[in-house]
């Protein structure tokens, strides 16, 4: 059952198209994350849902009601939602007054609600801060106050616009855990935007990828990270080893892709001669000092350009006629005695190569 739907939602300012026919559907009780680079239209989308802006065309349906109708009472709709903005915004008042503000404007600030506010302050780790001036809080604390202010009215939908964009890792973790807790404990539906892939992966039930105002892919985190629909998404979700080429020929279920004159064996049902982009996950590239044998279909002789270790892993930059990145453990680096300038074999299976239609012109 979807609680929120956008239908051909469009927002233009002058000639600029901020959102281009966005159709999305959010199920009741889920965490829906909108990811996309800066300027993709994430903020615009969330502000439209909160009726802080009006769309150029298209509709938003919230709980079976078309809230973009001019006859729809925006205040009434907003009182069923809550929002946390990217920049922590607090009123120049006490922490308590900030959290209680939505109750006061609704005229429902009784004794029960008062104890609810104090309860919430405890949940967000700010009990004892009730009488403190909210402006004296740190960014992370202020954002937690903003989150408490959002959920104090038990909304049907919580909107979060890059809520952790400018926070330190500890506060990012706290905010994420709080949002997941509210979602888990009271079935709160959450729509959150972020440019942080890993955050989306940690939190989301469903991810929508927004690029240049278009919703280009919607799916579970695994779908998007391991089988992005096109190279632009792949590039955006931080994929390396992305190469342009074309399908030269197909034989025995193997498509040969010509990348800078070298044939790469892949599995693809795209037609011969179509321009494609292929992607190999760095962790799927196997390194060996001697020519390997076995089921690995692509064996490339290459030179090590550099080795960069971080934590237990090491990123090895290779030159095989084109640059290739491999991710191996530090342990195997020392076992094989890898060093810069060394000649080596890199191999990966045909099935490990993802082939996508090219988005380049």
């Amino acid at each position: 059952m979807s609680i929120l739907q956008t239908i051909n939602l469009e927002q233009r300012i002058g000639n600029a198209v901020l959102l281009n026919k966005v159709n999305l559907s959010v199920a009741r009780g889920e965490i829906f994350t909108v990811i996309g680079p800066t300027g993709a239209g994430k903020t615009t989308l969330i502000r439209l849902i909160n009726l802080l802006e009006r769309p150029t065309s298209g509709d938003i349906v919230f709980d079976s009601e078309k809230i973009t109708d001019p006859s729809c009472d925006a205040v009434k709709v907003r009182r069923r939602m809550a929002m946390v903005f990217q920049k922590p915004a607090v009123f120049n008042n006490t922490v308590y007054e900030n959290v209680a503000y939505p109750l006061k404007v609704r005229g429902t600030h009784g004794r029960t609600e008062k104890s609810d506010v104090h309860q919430l302050l405890e949940t967000i780790g700010l009990s004892g801060y009730a009488r403190r001036k909210a402006r004296t809080l740190s960014g992370g604390e202020a954002q937690r106050v903003a989150l408490a202010r959002a959920v104090v009215v038990k909304p049907d939908l919580l909107l979060l616009d890059e809520p952790t964009a400018n926070l330190d890792p500890e506060n990012v973790k706290m905010i994420e855990e709080l949002v997941m807790k509210f979602n888990r404990e009271s079935g709160l539906t959450v729509v959150m935007s972020t440019h942080d892939m890993q955050q989306a992966q940690r939190m989301a039930g469903t991810i929508g990828v927004l690029m240049n105002g278009r919703l280009v892919q919607v799916g579970r985190p695994g779908d998007i990270f391991y089988s992005p629909d096109n190279a632009r998404i792949a590039g955006f979700v931080g994929m390396r080893n992305l190469f342009g080429g074309y399908i030269e020929r197909e034989e025995a279920g193997i498509a040969l892709v010509n990348v800078d004159g070298r044939d790469i064996q892949t599995v693809s049902d795209l037609p011969v001669r179509s321009a494609v982009e292929i992607y190999v996950r760095p962790e799927d590239v196997v390194l060996a000092v001697n020519a390997p044998e076995g089921s690995a279909r692509n064996i490339l002789r290459c030179t090590i350009r550099s080795l960069t270790s971080s934590g237990p892993l090491c990123t090895v930059m290779l030159d095989c006629g084109f640059p290739l990145e491999a991710l191996v453990t530090n342990q195997s680096v020392s076992e094989m005695g890898l060093r810069q300038g060394q000649e080596i074999y890199a191999s990966f299976k045909a099935s490990a190569v993802r082939v996508m239609p090219s988005t380049r012109r």
Binding site: M83, V90, F91
Partner: protein, 229 residues
Amino acid sequence: MQEIWQALVQAVNLIIGLDPEVIQISLRSLYVSAWSILIAALICIPIGGLIHFHDFKGKRVVINIIQTFYSLPTVVVGLLVFLFISRSGPLGGLELMFTPTAMIIGQVILILPVLTGMTIGALSGVDRSIRDTALSSGANSAQAMWAILFEAKFAVVGALILGFGRAISEVGAALMLGGNIKGYTRVLTTAISLETQRGDLVLSLALGIILIGIAMVVSITMNILLQRY
């Protein structure tokens, strides 16, 4: 320089001795200017809000005009109001000439531009996120406007103190519209002007010191109230 010292001593004596005439003049100054600022606030804050919250063609021009009238001379205001309320003027029948009411009208007109302009400035200083936060917290437009005004409270009260200062320190309109009638429309500034002409410089200075004292008390009181709310 002797006069300044003597004036200080006399001012203290007048205050401690509760000189009935000085007390009366001071209270009348306070009364006239307090009413002026109150009425002006009731007009200017909503108008400032209207201008700030609505986008219309020529908004910049309107704000420029308002700011130009910051330098409205007090005697010109006095003259204009005089033309309206004098016996032959359109409001002559109300017999307002040479009354405290006439002085209040003059001072209200005098501080309208300053207070309106500074209200707009104060509201512009409030971050847009406050409006968004209020609205998405479920506030209706009046509640959101109030939230923004609350955020701008220091700047708004600053504007009120400035307006009050302009009212209590002006002499042109008070003299032309009040007439400096002893026991009725004589206020601190008109008394200072009279005593100076009479040659009693020390008394003039003493009255000036009392005027500054009143302004200081008002400003401190407002700021204490502000800290509390």
